[in-house]
Protein backbone atom coordinates (compact mmCIF):
# COMPACT_ATOMS: atom_id res chain seq x y z
CA UNK A 1 0.00 0.00 0.00
CA UNK A 2 1.18 3.51 -0.80
CA UNK A 3 2.56 5.41 2.16
CA UNK A 4 3.21 9.11 2.52
CA UNK A 5 4.89 10.44 5.65
CA UNK A 6 5.32 14.13 6.35
CA UNK A 7 7.66 15.64 8.90
CA UNK A 8 7.68 17.47 11.13
CA UNK A 9 4.04 17.35 12.19
CA UNK A 10 4.31 20.96 13.30
CA UNK A 11 6.90 23.66 12.71
CA UNK A 12 7.09 27.07 14.27
CA UNK A 13 9.32 29.70 12.63
CA UNK A 14 10.12 33.33 13.14
CA UNK A 15 9.43 35.62 10.22
CA UNK A 16 12.41 35.45 7.88
CA UNK A 17 13.68 32.13 9.27
CA UNK A 18 14.01 29.75 6.30
CA UNK A 19 13.34 26.05 6.68
CA UNK A 20 12.17 22.90 4.88
CA UNK A 21 9.28 20.49 5.16
CA UNK A 22 9.77 16.84 4.27
CA UNK A 23 7.53 14.37 2.49
CA UNK A 24 8.84 10.81 2.19
CA UNK A 25 6.94 8.23 0.20
CA UNK A 26 6.78 4.53 -0.48
CA UNK A 27 5.03 4.17 -3.79
CA UNK A 28 5.45 1.65 -6.53
CA UNK A 29 5.70 3.52 -9.81
CA UNK A 30 5.36 7.15 -8.78
CA UNK A 31 3.68 9.20 -11.49
CA UNK A 32 3.48 12.48 -9.64
CA UNK A 33 3.85 14.19 -6.27
CA UNK A 34 1.68 17.13 -5.27
CA UNK A 35 1.94 19.85 -2.69
CA UNK A 36 -1.13 21.59 -1.34
CA UNK A 37 -1.66 24.37 1.18
CA UNK A 38 -4.65 24.25 3.51
CA UNK A 39 -5.79 27.22 5.57
CA UNK A 40 -8.07 26.67 8.59
CA UNK A 41 -11.67 26.12 7.55
CA UNK A 42 -10.83 25.93 3.85
CA UNK A 43 -10.16 23.32 1.23
CA UNK A 44 -6.65 22.37 0.11
CA UNK A 45 -5.19 24.76 -2.45
CA UNK A 46 -2.99 23.30 -5.19
CA UNK A 47 0.64 24.50 -5.17
CA UNK A 48 2.92 22.22 -7.22
CA UNK A 49 3.19 19.00 -9.16
CA UNK A 50 6.53 17.22 -9.49
CA UNK A 51 6.87 14.31 -11.90
CA UNK A 52 10.46 13.10 -11.83
CA UNK A 53 13.51 13.02 -9.56
CA UNK A 54 15.55 16.17 -9.85
CA UNK A 55 12.61 18.33 -10.79
CA UNK A 56 12.11 21.64 -8.97
CA UNK A 57 9.23 24.10 -8.96
CA UNK A 58 9.09 27.57 -7.40
CA UNK A 59 6.36 29.96 -6.42
CA UNK A 60 7.13 33.12 -4.47
CA UNK A 61 8.88 32.01 -1.26
CA UNK A 62 8.23 28.31 -1.85
CA UNK A 63 10.38 25.81 -3.73
CA UNK A 64 9.52 22.14 -4.09
CA UNK A 65 12.10 19.49 -4.97
CA UNK A 66 11.82 15.77 -5.64
CA UNK A 67 14.15 12.79 -5.21
CA UNK A 68 13.39 9.11 -5.67
CA UNK A 69 12.31 8.75 -2.07
CA UNK A 70 11.21 12.15 -0.84
CA UNK A 71 10.21 15.67 -1.59
CA UNK A 72 11.10 18.87 0.19
CA UNK A 73 9.17 22.08 0.39
CA UNK A 74 11.66 24.85 1.08
CA UNK A 75 10.34 28.07 2.52
CA UNK A 76 12.65 31.04 2.14
CA UNK A 77 12.22 34.06 4.43
CA UNK A 78 8.68 33.10 5.41
CA UNK A 79 6.03 35.63 6.35
CA UNK A 80 3.11 35.19 8.77
CA UNK A 81 0.76 34.75 5.80
CA UNK A 82 2.63 31.54 4.93
CA UNK A 83 1.16 29.97 8.07
CA UNK A 84 -0.96 26.99 7.01
CA UNK A 85 -0.98 23.22 6.86
CA UNK A 86 1.05 21.91 3.94
CA UNK A 87 -0.08 18.60 2.48
CA UNK A 88 1.83 16.24 0.25
CA UNK A 89 0.11 13.67 -1.97
CA UNK A 90 1.28 11.01 -4.41
CA UNK A 91 -0.21 9.56 -7.55
CA UNK A 92 1.05 6.29 -8.99
CA UNK A 93 0.82 4.16 -12.07
CA UNK A 94 -0.77 0.73 -12.10
CA UNK A 95 -3.62 1.64 -9.80
CA UNK A 96 -6.58 3.89 -10.26
CA UNK A 97 -5.74 6.69 -12.60
CA UNK A 98 -7.38 9.22 -10.33
CA UNK A 99 -6.41 8.33 -6.77
CA UNK A 100 -4.21 10.56 -4.65
CA UNK A 101 -2.77 9.33 -1.37
CA UNK A 102 -2.20 12.15 1.09
CA UNK A 103 0.16 12.54 4.01
CA UNK A 104 -1.06 13.94 7.31
CA UNK A 105 0.41 17.35 6.71
CA UNK A 106 2.79 19.75 8.42
CA UNK A 107 1.26 22.63 10.36
CA UNK A 108 3.48 25.66 9.77
CA UNK A 109 3.22 28.69 12.03
CA UNK A 110 5.24 31.80 11.20
CA UNK A 111 5.45 34.33 13.98
CA UNK A 112 5.97 38.04 13.22
Amino acid sequence: EDQVTQSPEALRLQEGESSSLNCSYTVSGLRGLFWYRQDPGKGPEFLFTLYSAGEEKEKERLKATLTKKESFLHITAPKPEDSATYLCAVYRSGGSNYKLTFGKGTLLTVNP
Binding site: R31, G32, F34, Y36, Q38, G41, K42, G43, P44, E45, F46, T49, T85, L87, Y91, S96, N97, Y98, K99, L100, F102, K104, G105
Partner: protein
Protein backbone atom coordinates in the same frame (compact mmCIF):
# COMPACT_ATOMS: atom_id res chain seq x y z
CA UNK B 1 -16.02 32.92 -9.78
CA UNK B 2 -16.31 29.90 -7.52
CA UNK B 3 -14.58 26.90 -9.11
CA UNK B 4 -15.76 24.09 -6.83
CA UNK B 5 -18.66 24.84 -4.52
CA UNK B 6 -20.35 22.77 -1.83
CA UNK B 7 -23.57 23.15 0.11
CA UNK B 8 -24.17 23.30 2.93
CA UNK B 9 -21.00 24.58 4.60
CA UNK B 10 -22.13 23.35 8.01
CA UNK B 11 -24.48 20.48 8.80
CA UNK B 12 -25.53 19.50 12.31
CA UNK B 13 -27.82 16.54 12.65
CA UNK B 14 -28.78 13.71 14.96
CA UNK B 15 -27.77 10.10 14.79
CA UNK B 16 -29.96 8.02 12.54
CA UNK B 17 -30.91 10.85 10.21
CA UNK B 18 -30.30 10.91 6.46
CA UNK B 19 -28.56 13.89 4.89
CA UNK B 20 -27.12 15.03 1.57
CA UNK B 21 -24.21 17.25 0.56
CA UNK B 22 -24.10 18.82 -2.88
CA UNK B 23 -21.09 19.72 -5.01
CA UNK B 24 -20.81 21.63 -8.26
CA UNK B 25 -17.78 22.57 -10.36
CA UNK B 26 -17.65 25.12 -13.16
CA UNK B 27 -14.15 24.21 -14.36
CA UNK B 28 -15.33 21.88 -17.10
CA UNK B 29 -13.47 18.97 -15.48
CA UNK B 30 -14.39 15.37 -16.24
CA UNK B 31 -13.57 13.86 -12.84
CA UNK B 32 -14.99 14.63 -9.42
CA UNK B 33 -14.19 13.27 -5.96
CA UNK B 34 -15.38 13.07 -2.39
CA UNK B 35 -12.84 13.12 0.43
CA UNK B 36 -13.26 12.82 4.19
CA UNK B 37 -10.98 14.76 6.53
CA UNK B 38 -11.08 13.50 10.08
CA UNK B 39 -10.36 15.33 13.32
CA UNK B 40 -6.63 14.69 12.86
CA UNK B 41 -6.78 16.45 9.49
CA UNK B 42 -6.08 13.25 7.55
CA UNK B 43 -7.57 13.52 4.07
CA UNK B 44 -8.80 10.26 2.57
CA UNK B 45 -10.55 9.62 -0.70
CA UNK B 46 -14.00 8.07 -0.62
CA UNK B 47 -15.32 8.12 -4.18
CA UNK B 48 -14.48 9.34 -7.63
CA UNK B 49 -16.62 9.77 -10.73
CA UNK B 50 -15.40 10.28 -14.28
CA UNK B 51 -18.03 11.52 -16.71
CA UNK B 52 -20.80 10.31 -14.41
CA UNK B 53 -19.22 6.86 -14.05
CA UNK B 54 -18.03 5.60 -10.65
CA UNK B 55 -14.32 4.79 -10.88
CA UNK B 56 -13.11 4.81 -7.29
CA UNK B 57 -15.05 3.36 -4.40
CA UNK B 58 -12.87 3.01 -1.35
CA UNK B 59 -13.87 0.95 1.68
CA UNK B 60 -16.69 3.23 2.67
CA UNK B 61 -19.83 1.96 4.45
CA UNK B 62 -22.70 1.47 2.03
CA UNK B 63 -24.64 4.08 4.01
CA UNK B 64 -22.71 6.52 1.84
CA UNK B 65 -24.01 6.79 -1.71
CA UNK B 66 -22.64 9.20 -4.29
CA UNK B 67 -24.66 10.37 -7.25
CA UNK B 68 -23.54 12.25 -10.32
CA UNK B 69 -26.45 13.64 -12.36
CA UNK B 70 -23.99 15.21 -14.82
CA UNK B 71 -20.25 15.75 -14.95
CA UNK B 72 -20.48 19.13 -13.21
CA UNK B 73 -22.28 17.77 -10.15
CA UNK B 74 -21.47 15.11 -7.57
CA UNK B 75 -23.68 14.70 -4.55
CA UNK B 76 -23.16 12.60 -1.45
CA UNK B 77 -26.07 11.05 0.39
CA UNK B 78 -25.55 9.53 3.82
CA UNK B 79 -28.12 7.25 5.44
CA UNK B 80 -28.49 6.44 9.12
CA UNK B 81 -25.83 8.87 10.29
CA UNK B 82 -23.48 7.75 13.05
CA UNK B 83 -21.29 9.70 15.47
CA UNK B 84 -18.19 8.53 13.61
CA UNK B 85 -19.40 10.22 10.44
CA UNK B 86 -18.59 13.59 11.99
CA UNK B 87 -15.85 15.11 9.83
CA UNK B 88 -15.22 17.63 7.11
CA UNK B 89 -16.20 16.38 3.66
CA UNK B 90 -14.44 17.86 0.65
CA UNK B 91 -15.44 17.70 -2.96
CA UNK B 92 -12.74 18.04 -5.63
CA UNK B 93 -12.47 17.98 -9.39
CA UNK B 94 -9.72 17.42 -11.92
CA UNK B 95 -9.06 17.27 -15.63
CA UNK B 96 -5.50 15.97 -15.44
CA UNK B 97 -3.75 14.99 -12.23
CA UNK B 98 -4.11 18.22 -10.27
CA UNK B 99 -7.22 18.18 -8.12
CA UNK B 100 -9.03 21.34 -7.09
CA UNK B 101 -10.95 21.30 -3.85
CA UNK B 102 -14.13 22.89 -2.63
CA UNK B 103 -14.43 24.73 0.70
CA UNK B 104 -15.67 21.70 2.61
CA UNK B 105 -18.81 20.73 4.53
CA UNK B 106 -18.41 20.30 8.26
CA UNK B 107 -20.76 17.53 9.35
CA UNK B 108 -21.48 17.15 13.05
CA UNK B 109 -23.55 14.21 14.20
CA UNK B 110 -24.93 14.46 17.74
Amino acid sequence: DTAVSQTPKYLVTQMGNDKSIKCEQNLGHDTMYWYKQDSKKFLKIMFSYNNKELIINETVPNRFSPKSPDKAHLNLHINSLELGDSAVYFCASSQAHEQYFGPGTRLTVT
